[in-house]
């Protein structure tokens, strides 16, 4: 299934697939009537279908997984619009495609506003701080990082020590990109104050 394909409308579909799709249509019909077991079965069967379709559109697995969930939420919201007399897959794929487009647009907006933190690598104003360890040791640095508030410690660890991207760090921690940026900035100020004796 690709974005341009017309699922459910092909004539050379194997018989087992046809019956599987018909079963999905039956399940959503039952779900519309309030059958929760049918609804649970339906949603569980949709997950691998959606993972396959959405996974082809989005490279990042965590993004794809989020879009699968958003699609399930939209299916829930829009389940009353499905007409059992019509094919099920075009209805489902239209919803999934919309959520993929929304995600791609959101990514484009975010990446347009994202600031590359590598530009702030030389944060300390005094040369020695940027060029050498000066009179503090890696252990002192680790202690200083350990003393940071939780969010700042997470931000500096993920972004500076593990060299994760903002998006990866955000995905791993659940902290927003904006918060990560602010936390990193504040963490660096605190570290500078503690290690070099500057003001925080």
């Amino acid at each position: 299934m690709s974005v341009r394909s017309r699922p459910g409308q092909g004539s050379a579909r194997p018989l087992h697939e046809v019956s599987a799709v018909a079963e999905l249509a039956r399940l959503i019909g039952a779900a519309q009537a309030g059958d929760r077991d049918a609804y649970r079965t339906l949603l569980k069967r949709l997950v691998p279908l959606l993972r396959r379709f959405i996974g082809r559109q989005l490279r990042n697995p965590s993004d794809a997984d989020e879009v699968v969930q958003e699609t399930l939420l939209t299916v829930h919201t829009a389940r009353h619009t499905y007409d059992p007399a019509r094919p099920f897959l075009p209805w489902l794929i239209a919803i999934a495609r919309r959520r993929v487009i929304d995600r791609i647009r959101k990514q484009q907006r975010t990446s347009a506003q994202e600031v590359d933190l590598a530009a702030y690598a030389e944060t300390f104003s005094t040369d020695p701080a940027n060029l050498s360890e000066g009179d503090w040791s890696p252990r002192a640095l680790q202690e200083a990082i350990d003393a940071l508030p939780e969010v700042q410690r997470q931000a500096i660890t993920m972004l500076k020590l593990k060299e994760m991207s903002l998006k990866e760090a955000s995905g791993a921690s659940g902290i927003t990109v904006a918060t990560l940026k602010v936390a990193t900035h504040r963490a660096i100020k605190r570290l500078r104050a503690r290690l070099l004796g500057g003001s925080a």
Binding site: K44, A78, Y82
Partner: protein
């Protein structure tokens, strides 16, 4: 995570009333429009020369073109409100829209200063018609689209706006003696653009959310 989501959705799943077919919903909206026009006609008389107009091909092309565009645009908008329907539904009102706007474009009198010239009170009357008919119809269309699951909000809302504009323009032709092309242009293309534009403005609110 996904399993937990599924369980939470199943937990709140209640029986839902299936959305009627788009053509039936379009019929409901058009019935509401007809009722609006009937109520409007109680307080407003038809234009003084309606019998003459009914024999004029150009007037008929404008009026019937606007009305047919309203019908077809309403069907198209409500079809697009259902996931999986082809975007080609958007082409449905195009032939009648072309007839309607071409009829407008063939006018040759730009400003009318004679008996049929619109005075300020005539302009105010026209605007009142636009608001009194257009606003309730626009709200009704927005409610109907919200009840559906709009996935292409701008296109769908623009079509809904054109449907409203078609009814409003037809009403203006029937109730107001518009002769000068400037007014006819405003009361047709201008209103179509106005309502389609308003539709596009509210379009983001129509997009089916991930959860309601």
């Amino acid at each position: 995570m996904t399993t937990a989501l599924i369980e939470s959705l199943v937990a709140v799943a209640v029986p839902v009333r299936r959305l009627p077919p788009p053509w039936l919903r379009a019929l409901q909206w058009l019935g509401f429009a007809a009722a609006m026009l009937a109520v409007f006609s109680l307080s407003h008389s038809f234009r003084y020369n309606i019998e003459h107009c009914l024999r004029a091909p150009l007037w008929l092309a404008m009026c019937v073109g606007a009305a047919m565009t309203a019908v077809l645009a309403a069907v198209a908008a409500l079809e697009l409100g259902v996931p999986g329907r082809s975007r080609r539904w958007a082409l449905l009102p195009m032939p009648t829209l072309a007839v309607w706007l071409c009829a407008v474009a063939t006018r040759d009198t730009w400003i009318d200063t004679g008996r049929d010239a619109l005075g300020w009170s005539g302009i105010a009357d026209c605007l009142a018609t636009v608001v009194l008919i257009g606003v309730p119809l626009g709200i009704a269309m927005a409610i109907m689209l919200r009840r559906a699951a709009v996935l292409q909000p701008a296109l769908t809302a623009a079509l809904g706006g054109v449907a409203v504009a078609g009814v409003v323009s037809a009403a203006l032709h029937v109730f107001h003696p518009l002769h000068a092309t400037l007014w006819i242009l405003l009361s047709n293309a201008g209103i179509a653009a106005l309502f389609a534009g308003l539709g596009v403005l509210i379009a983001p609110r129509l997009l089916v959310p991930a959860a309601r």
